[in-house]
Amino acid sequence: MQTLREFTRKTKRGNILKIVREHYLRDDIGCGSELCRECFQNEVYQLTSQHANKSTLFKFPHYLVLDTNVVLDQIDVLEEDVLRNVVVLTTVLNEVKHRSSAIYKRFNEIVHDRTRNFYVFVNEHHKETYADREPDETANDRNDRAIRLATKWYDDHLQASQSSKEFERSGKAATRVVLLTDDAANRAKAEAEGILVTTAAEYVKSLEDFPLLMDKLSHKTFDSEKNGLPQYPPHLSMKELLEGLRQNKLLQGTFQASRENYLEGTVNVEKFEKGILIQGRESLNRAVDGDLVAVELLPEAEWSAPSEIVLEEKNVYADEVPSEERAKDENEMLNQVRAAALSAERTPTGRIVGIVRRKWRQYCGILQPSLIEDTNRHIFVPADRKIPRIRIETRQAAMLQNQRIIVTIDTWPRNSRYPHGHFVRSLGPLGDMATENEVILLEHDVPHCKFSDEVLSFLPKMPWTITDEDYSKRVDLRDLYICSVDPPGCTDIDDALHCRELPNGNLEVGVHIADVSHFIRPGKRTGHGGSGPGETTVYLVGKRIDMVPELLSSNLCSLVGGVERFAFSCVWEVDNEANVLSKRFHKSVIKSKRAMTYEEAQNIIDDATQQNEIAKSLRNLNRLAKILKKRRMDNGALVLASPEIRFQVDSETHEPLEVEVKQMRETNSMVEEFMLLANITVAEHIATEFSECAVLRRHPRPPPTNFDPLVKSARYQGFQVDINSGLELSHSLDKCVKADNPYFNTMIRILTTRCMMQAVYFISGSLQKEEFFHYGLAAPIYTHFTSPIRRYSDIMVHRLLAASIGADSTYAQLLDRKSNEELCHNLNYRHKMAQYAGRASVALNTHLFFRGKEEDEEGYVLFVRKNALQVLIPKYGLEGTLYLKSDKDGKDGVERVKSEIVFTFNEEDHTQRCGDVVFHSFDPVTVRLSLDSSNVQHEKLIFRLVKPYIKGFSVETTTEGTDSQAVSAAPPSKKTKKDKKKK
């Protein structure tokens, strides 16, 4: 056995406790180098001589040891596949984990990459490299010492193993160990101890083959600014912050920058409902959107009101000290604010005195064209207006112009106006479809990198065949007339149906779902990585980000016609009135007879000459579905509508050609009914089998106030909407029909949808049974079972169901409530993000579609706001805002009077009046659509009024001379903004 030495360690907690722990030191930890002949090596050598780092500073083969600060600051450099043969000390690993979990995750990915030759050396438990903390030594100093000790040991250890005669004879240069540290003190000490040491920046610069890597270095200081004047007040130290927070002198909250005004923001604090207002650059004190900050509240006399001006930072240049103009700008704004504050309602105001935790991430944006040629310093403009500009250094500026790039912030020193950052990578040319999609995915945190080799290694080997063992375990349903009905072009078919008549006159209906859980085994990595389980397939226009590798999604799991596939079947026996008499679940082998589109299926049903099995089965299904649907409606299920659109995308350029609104056919609803039935049946089953840990989905009932806008606007149209229960709501919605406006009912339903809450996944053990209710479907219990190819929740449900019927074994995590609860959180988050990403993609394509076009379209006022009309264009399912006044009313009163166009908003019945013209909800209007590309990062679709015609406001209906019109009738929102800037 190994030698054991006992050490004690003391740590302190809140109320100072002495904690004594054992710490075993070992002599069986290998050094991981292939040069070593002494160590007990339990692994494959990680440190080899094959991939040497070539550096001009150290012209002999060497291994690297990284200090913690290098890992934390230079993670982007490390992520590049350049540095190899790196010794990772556990001291460093633990420190990184402690300081930033995000970087720790990224660093771990690198360490796990076998090709990178990173070796984790457990120096903390090696008897030669353990450093006991000395009295009066800070934890940090001890760690630095431990790192130096380990480096020294490594160097000596390698020297020893290379000192043999054999090695000398081979004539190879001896391998040494180099420490990289950005800590000057640590470096000095290391030099004194005779360790080869340098800084990360110098080392990267000395690399022969990778000149561009320098761009990715994190810059803590810029030479030119070292002695610049401080522009911001200093931050309080962590200790002072904690002290202040404890004594309630300071308040802690998340900082939210204002989108409109770069000199304003709020900090969300529990104590104040609206949060604390922060105004002015010095009060903002280098906080970036999302940071956790400490705020000092100003005395009430100095409280202010949120300014109502839009202030965008003008083009500024990197090396400029704050110019007069800018200072003037800021003063102007503060003065305005003070003036406004006299009249307006004051809100608590404060200033930021320190940052508790930075929430810096990677930002996407573009490089600002530089005024000076041949400079390395550049200003980066983030796409998100809440983020300040970032100063970066790059040598590839010319190449990066007009590209979307990613930049990360390194530091924000007191004497710099902007934070310092460094270039991470380029996404591609601006406006390019692939680039823009990438941006959408990044902004919505959708994991989308390629599936790793590890994930792919778990896939079945092709050609894949069904073995006899599989047949024996599964019910053979290959003879049944099973078919699938999906939208055209669908390749991931996860459901199929059948219906047959039983000898006793009843019907047997089966829903067969792709058996994804057969291929995706628990405990194996499945997704794109980095986010844990719970991913979902994301649909962008013309692109699909699969949750599972394509081999599964489009081939082995997809229930394509005429091929034998594994399925998870849910089979009911129903009578002719669609009453379920019995149900059973089993895994099966099916052979879909035909994969149809909704249209094809509809045609078969309608075509009375077709009398084959499929046609009969479809007709039966359709008949049952109608009964089921009626029953569901009678229970109070809601029919909601959303303006869904579909783009016809050019297969070559991926640019949208045409927009079409999704069509609903009888067959859509037929498939939907049976999916709902399957989901509900499965939900009931797993909830009884697993009362603690079943994954279910609920849709909470919205609070009555949510319905206010709906009730009000319906009342104006002469309809009464009852919201007391789902049933009443559903009935009253049915009555909202206008003969002259067939679209009216849809609009009402769209409005109703807006009032709803978000449906969420949850664990059966976490809520009372009554709360399981699904409001929209009027089902007491619900889950997702029918789309395992694109949703992870369904895979979980499959596993639970399989375990409950004994078709599959359980595993510890499946039944663990806590881990399932975490999973549900992740599912909900991913689900939401996938939805947002989908919408963003539709918006992007809408913009592309309208690029260079101007169209007059019929639309309806969906909603009347204080300063704008929300207009819906049924043709495109498109919704947009038609501004009547500036965003902030009142301010522009002077201008409006001049042009004699005044809109008055009536809060009672939600109308806007201008002269004789009154806008109500649901009024028809004609608007002109065009794309505003003035800001390359934020293209906007602009709505301009055509009909009803208001002189001086509406666009002229004549089609000639659009240019002059654009000038004379620029959209009000834009105009006012410009005016303000002039002021």
Binding site: L17, V20, R21, E22, H23, Y24, R26, H125, Y811
Partner: protein
Amino acid sequence: MSGKYDLLSEQGLRLDGRRPHELRRIKCKLGVFEQPDGSAYMEQGNTKVLAAVYGPHQAKGNQTESVINCQYSQATFSTAERKNRPRGDRKSLEFKLYLQQALSAAIKSELYPRSQIDIYVEVLQDDGANYAVALNAATLALIDAGICLNEFIVACTASLSKSNIPLTDISQFEEVSGGPKLTVAALPTAEKIAFLEMSERFHIDHLETVIETAMAGCREIRDILEAAVKEHLLHMGSASDFAKVG
């Protein structure tokens, strides 16, 4: 099963530097007191326990069977925060019963009718697996007192890391870090389990391997205890010149 830390690092070391199957360092000594009939001191890592045995002596009352009476207590200075009640709290009472249960499986009680054996256990320092160490100390004290046992009764704990690798003899740090805990008291040669306790549910797939790990720990501890007993006898000497036999 979720805790702040994973109990096993990717390099295969536990939080305190042990490998999964390794016990903590064990030190033990028999006959530490003169007054009782038998006594023992046992250290398993930082868990330190004293045990003393009185008896067999005449049982009170009119009992025909033998009575095994245990007392478990924990010194006020044994934990990081001062303990207020050294004995009589729920935990102590529970452990007392468990000790009685396990020990009565080992003691040849048919040899001691109408007599009582008192076993007092005091935990001096608490660093996890108190019950197991207390039982091991009690075994040594019983041997020191010359009470007939079927065989050594030893206990060992085991846990499970997130990567589903069983861990032997868990320390307090591992206990509070959120690992499940399984305690087994066994007669290792007979491969009989006298007592088994779980802090939370294990999945059926893992239960067997965890129990097996704990049993392996028991066997290892038995060997160490046996060596300690022999060592002790060597020092004591014996009428039959045991030292030369040893």
